[in-house]
């Protein structure tokens, strides 16, 4: 059995990381450029291939072929380590995100490998999904801080310092914001949270109780208030966590040249880029899993798909998740090209004075509601 687990896990890692996340990173860069152009009344990259769809490949080649400069005044070891430290946590966090229920292998394959086991559609079936994500994704900031420090130059340094203080003030709000959800579902297992949403309706779509669409259940509708609040806090914190506008103080082209990656070039720069977008995609995936039912369809349409499903349906579940995440990424991009950057003190105030308190009060509110509707 062990070899079966290892091989299926390896296959899942390859599929998720190399066939799903990395290509979507490349294409979210493409969409970033296209959508930003549309917002600014331009056209964006439309030359390479039909509609410019091959642009990410050209960009990737460019990054590979560019000269890789390591400036003489940097701390070589940390300078080389930093880009990897940004990318790896972003990719590792996707391990606990469920992208489907359970896949039943077709019969001939079962005979071929001689096992009847189903494959859970998640890389690591942990009982502590959200905690794992928080623990790993906050490591990403070390990459940024190290890059800023090792570059031995003032703009990256400022970027690194900003990033670390920003991370401290947002991590708390991020962690607290999902506590109401965990209280409602009573579980830390992301797969079970998604399964509960498949049966009882998405967290943010309370008009569904088991078996009845558009049912008016007072408890669910009352609980949608704290869930909505925690969604707003969570999204704000995710924006800060992934260093996206309006919280891109670490990068901040207009003030800090390029922020922490000013001194980087070629593939090392590309790794920062990949890391930022991978974090964005995984963050969207996390938000979708918690608030929009992960791989499930709304209104209980996926309630029958909870057990073991065939490969076709498994693929369908995967695509459902993919489309939701794609819409989320578009939202990230849309926000980026709309909002100006927060000033440093505004950001601190927002993090410590508003989000932190709102998240705390929200937990108490949820607890009160849960007791009231017990």
């Amino acid at each position: 059995m062990d070899w079966f687990l290892i091989i299926t896990t390896l296959i899942k890692i390859v599929v998720v990381v190399f066939l799903a996340i990395l290509p979507s990173v490349a294409y979210s860069v493409y969409f970033e450029r296209r959508v930003s152009a549309w917002i600014q009344d331009r056209l964006g990259p439309n030359r390479v291939g039909p509609l410019g769809l091959l642009q990410p490949i050209a960009d990737g080649l460019k990054f590979l072929l560019k000269e890789d400069v390591t400036p003489g005044h940097v701390n070589k070891f940390y300078f080389w380590l930093a880009p990897a430290l940004v990318l790896v946590p972003a990719l590792v966090t996707c391990a606990v995100l469920p992208f489907g229920s359970e896949m039943q292998l077709p019969l001939w394959l079962q005979d071929l490998i001689g096992t009847k086991a189903n494959i859970p559609m998640v890389i690591a079936d942990l009982d502590t999904g959200p905690l794992f994500i928080f623990a790993i994704s906050s490591l990403g900031v070390y990459g940024i801080v190290l890059a800023g420090w090792a570059s031995n130059s003032k703009y990256p340094f400022l970027g690194g310092v900003r990033s670390s203080s920003q991370m401290i003030s947002y991590e708390i709000a991020l962690g607290l914001s999902i506590v109401p959800l965990l209280m409602i579902y009573g579980d830390l297992h992301l797969g079970k949270i998604v399964a509960a949403q498949a049966k009882e309706g998405w967290s943010l779509l309370p008009f569904w109780t088991e078996g009845h669409a558009f049912a008016f259940d007072l408890k669910k509708i009352a609980l949608a208030v704290p869930v909505g609040i925690s969604f707003i806090v969570f999204m704000t914190a995710i924006f800060a966590e992934t260093n996206r506008v309006p919280f891109d103080l670490a990068e901040c082209e207009t003030e800090l040249v390029g922020g922490y990656h000013t001194e980087y070039s070629s593939m090392k720069f590309a790794l920062f880029f990949l890391g930022e977008y991978a974090a964005m995609i995984v963050g969207s995936c996390f938000a979708v899993t918690l608030f929009f039912g992960g791989w499930t369809l709304p209104f209980g349409l996926s309630a029958q798909q909870l057990g073991a499903v065939g490969p076709g349906i498994a693929l369908f579940q995967f695509l459902t998740l993919f489309i939701k995440v794609f819409l989320f990424v578009l939202f990230f991009i849309w926000v980026r090209w709309t909002l100006p950057r927060f000033r440093y003190d505004q950001l601190m105030r927002l993090g410590w004075v508003w989000l932190f308190e709102i998240a705390l009060v929200n937990i108490i509110l949820t607890a009160g509601l849960l007791i009231a509707f017990r």
Binding site: W38, Q40, D41, W334
Partner: protein, 177 residues
């Protein structure tokens, strides 16, 4: 000294918690996308296919070039003023004497080689301004490209090719002189 106190705009509660302004901003940018897709926005020009050439103003400063006049005389007298004035030192002139049997022998001097390094040229127009002979003009060619450095140096032949013939200029070297 007169001081003016700038009044901070009074924000209402919804503006203070950012949400309303964020939604407003999102609606605004989305409006731009919608307008673009409905074809209501004048989009930027698709450069190599569409060009702005017919709209270039009279005073456009493109590539500098040498001209000949209606008598077929090359107007440059190799005085080298442009070479001196050129801020990035893009011009290199090798003068030569005009032989006695030449109909324009009284001009005495002409460029043997005249090279403008278009990698260096900044299209400032100083050469045109300083030329006492109205021999060098900035034309409207702007897409000067090449695959090597050598290709980017315009020699005399190329400069006359770009410049062509320009009529109606003052002729200092007529029979009266």
């Amino acid at each position: 000294m007169a001081t003016k106190l700038v009044e901070r705009p009074k924000l209402n509660f919804f503006e203070k918690i950012y949400l309303s302004s964020i939604l407003h901003g999102l609606a605004l940018t989305f409006g731009h996308i919608v307008r673009l897709f409905r074809g209501k926005t004048k989009v930027v020009m698709q450069y190599p296919e569409e060009k702005w050439d017919s709209n270039l103003p009279e005073y456009y400063r493109g590539a500098p070039a040498l001209v000949t006049d209606e008598h077929g005389r090359e107007r440059c007298v190799a005085c080298q003023l442009c070479e001196f004035i050129c801020p990035p030192r893009a011009i290199t002139i090798t003068p030569e004497e005009i032989p006695n049997n030449d109909p324009w022998a009284k001009v005495e001097k002409r460029p043997k080689a005249f090279e403008i390094d278009m990698i260096r040229c900044i299209y400032c127009g100083m050469c045109e301004e300083v030329c006492p002979e109205q021999a060098i003009f900035l034309r409207k060619d702007y897409a000067i490209t090449g695959e090597s450095r050598a290709e980017m140096v315009h020699d005399k032949r190329k400069l006359y090719e770009i410049g062509g013939v320009r009529t109606g200029l003052v002729n200092k070297w007529n029979e009266l002189k």
